[in-house]
């Protein structure tokens, strides 16, 4: 048997009812199996996203730490000619 950990979490009763329905339909043997499957999906979703996408999600939720001023980050491009958009 795989190494398992007992995890106590609070889930709304409405969600639990939906999970029980899926179990009753035979899609999962029990709540643990259904929730484990949901967590696998969640991990798969975030493993595919870039650090920029994850940071954007954190920013929008107000949970991204704020530090520094990006204007200090400047670059020196090589010899290539750079043209800004025309004023139109």
């Amino acid at each position: 048997m795989a190494d398992t950990v007992l995890l106590q979490v609070r889930i709304s009763s409405a969600l639990v009812r939906r999970i029980d329905e899926l179990c009753n339909e035979g899609l999962f043997r029990n709540r643990s199996e259904a929730i484990s499957d949901a967590i696998r999906l969640l991990l798969a979703k975030y493993s595919k996203t870039s650090p920029e996408a994850r940071a954007t999600a954190l920013y929008l939720s107000g949970r991204l730490g704020r530090v520094g001023n990006p204007e200090e980050l400047v670059f020196t491009p090589g010899a290539s000619r750079i043209e800004l958009e025309e004023d139109k």
């Binding site: 954007t56 520094g68 090589g78």
Partner: protein, 147 residues
């Protein structure tokens, strides 16, 4: 709040010293240092594209993250439309004024954020076509010298 357009930020971050606008661009940004400024998500992505193009993807990505984390900048996002119909309705009024689709998206964000007072850009042709007052960095410096 002043919103800084991507042209001003591109001049700064790519250090385009040979551009005739460089000195005023830098001075205007220097004077705004320490105050909260806005950048639309479209303007920021435009900047990231330019930086990635000229100095590489890694630098572009780094710059994106540093703006999200900035203490001095707020990234302004648009209201997310429920449907394409709603989106077309939203942008059409700006397209009708002759704005490009990219500028129409920028204008939408400015419209959705009532705290935006000024849009800082070198593109004077945008004046009267976007929902807020525009100033070039040069005009901003003159205005601040007088007052």
């Amino acid at each position: 709040m002043i919103v800084i357009a991507s042209d001003v930020l591109i001049l700064h971050h790519l250090m385009l010293r040979s551009d005739s606008r460089w000195a005023d661009n830098e001075e205007a940004l220097r004077r705004l240092k320490g105050s909260m400024k806005g950048v639309t998500i479209y303007g920021l992505l435009d900047l990231v594209g330019a930086v990635s193009r000229y100095v590489g993807e890694k630098n572009g990505r780094e710059l994106y993250l540093s703006y999200l984390r900035s203490e001095e900048h707020r990234i302004l996002f648009p209201h997310h439309p429920d449907s394409w119909e709603e989106h077309i309705e939203d942008v059409m009024k700006y397209l009708g004024r002759g704005l490009s689709y990219k500028d129409a998206l920028e204008a939408l964000v400015l419209d959705n954020n009532p705290e935006v007072q000024l849009y800082l850009t070198w593109r004077t042709a945008l004046a009267d076509r976007i929902p807020v007052k525009t100033r070039t960095p040069r005009e901003l410096l003159q205005q601040r010298t007088i007052t």
